[in-house]
C-alpha cells in the first residue's frame, strides 16, 4: 500500500486530482474544500496526480519510481544543486 501525504496548506482545492485519478483515490473534502485521500489501497503510483496538481501538494511515500530513460545531464546538474 502506498502512503500519500497531502500538504493542505499547499492544496488550492481545484479538484484536478479527483477528476484525474484513474482509480478514484482522492475525494474533495466538502468542509475544508481540500483534497483528501479516501482510497490509498487502490493507488498504483502512476503519479498522474503529481502531473496535474498545480501546487505539488501530494507526496507518495516509499514508491519505486522507474528510472527515466531520458534525463538531460545538464538538467540533472541543476536539479541536484537546487537549494
Amino acid at each position: 500500500m502506498v502512503e500519500i501525504l497531502i500538504d493542505e496548506d499547499a492544496c488550492v482545492g481545484c479538484g484536478s486530482c479527483v477528476d484525474d485519478c484513474p482509480n478514484d483515490v482522492y475525494k474533495m473534502n466538502e468542509e475544508k474544500w481540500k483534497t483528501e485521500v479516501v482510497n490509498a489501497d487502490d493507488c498504483m503510483a502512476c503519479l498522474s496526480c503529481h502531473e496535474i496538481c498545480p501546487a505539488q501538494a501530494m507526496t507518495h511515500k516509499d514508491i519505486h519510481v522507474a528510472k527515466r530513460l531520458y534525463i538531460d545531464r545538464r538538467v540533472n546538474h541543476v536539479l541536484e544543486r537546487m537549494i
Binding site: 488550492v12 501546487a55 537546487m82
Partner: protein, 303 residues
Amino acid sequence: MVKIALETLASCSGCEISILDLHEDLVKLLDQAEIVYGPIIMDVKEVPDDIDIAIVSGSVRNAENKERLEELREKSKYLIAYGTCACYGGITGMADLYTSEEVTSRTYTDNPSTEPAELPNEVVPELLSIVHPAADFTFIDGFIPGCPPKEQLTHDILIPLINDEAPDVPKKSVCADCQREMEHVEFDKIHRRIEGDPEPGKCFLSQGYVCLGSVTLGRCGALCTSAGIPCHGCGGPALDVLREPSHDIYNGVIKRISHISKMPEKDVEKQLYDIGHVIYGFVIGSTTMEDKQVSLIPQLVKK
C-alpha cells in the same frame, strides 16, 4: 570566520539589496561570516583569494562579466548562482529577443528619449552575442532562483550554509503559497492583464488571466497574486517543469488553462500573445530550457 563574496554581473543589483534586506539577521550572519568582497556595498575592486562562499547574481552579458565569474570560481570553494538572472538568464535574457546591434543602437545612436550619441568603443568590455546564465561558463555549486530570492528564503539558506549544514527549504510552485481558490470554470476568452478587474480570492486562471503560478518555482509567499497581480514567472520554472523533458512553461500553461476552461488547447494557443515576454520572460536566456524539444525559445532568440 566564513568569507563571503558578493558579485553583481549583468543585473539590477536587486539581489544584493535582498541580502541587505535580512535587516537584524544580517548582524547575526556577520557574527560568523565576513563579507570580503562586494563592489555594490563596499569599496573594493579586486577579488581576494580564499573565498568560502561566493554569491553571484546577474547574467553574463559581456567579456568582463565572464572574466569576473571565472575569477570568482577559481578563488572560491562554493559558488552560488543567486537569483533568476544567474540561474536562467532572467529578465536580462529578454535582450535575446533582439540582436546586439538593435540593443546597442536603441541605447546609443537611436534612442528616442535622449540626444543620440556614438557607440563607445574604448574602455568598455566587449558585448557577447547573447545573454548567458552563469552556469553556461562555469561549475555552479548551488542554484537559488528568485527575483530576487526573498529575505526569509535567503535567511533560511544562508544561515545553515555558513554553519556547514544542508538548508531545508520548500521547493513547491507559487500555487502552493497562493491563497486564491482555483475552480474549473468554462470560458472561451483569455484576458490581457490590463483588462477588467480580477475578482479577489479567486484564481487568475479560473478568471481567464494568464498566470504562471503553477509552472513557477515559488517560495516568494505569492506576493504578486495576493496583491492582485498574476504571476509573471520571476522564480524560474517549477522543478517538475525543469525535470521532465516534455514539459515546458508554454505547454504547461496551455494545458492548465485548457484543463480549467475546457477550451481546446489549440484555441488557447491562438489567444496567447507575445510569448517572448509573457511566457518566457524570465527563462529566455536559459540553455537548459531552450534545449527542451518542446521549447519555443529557439524560434524567439535572435543570435
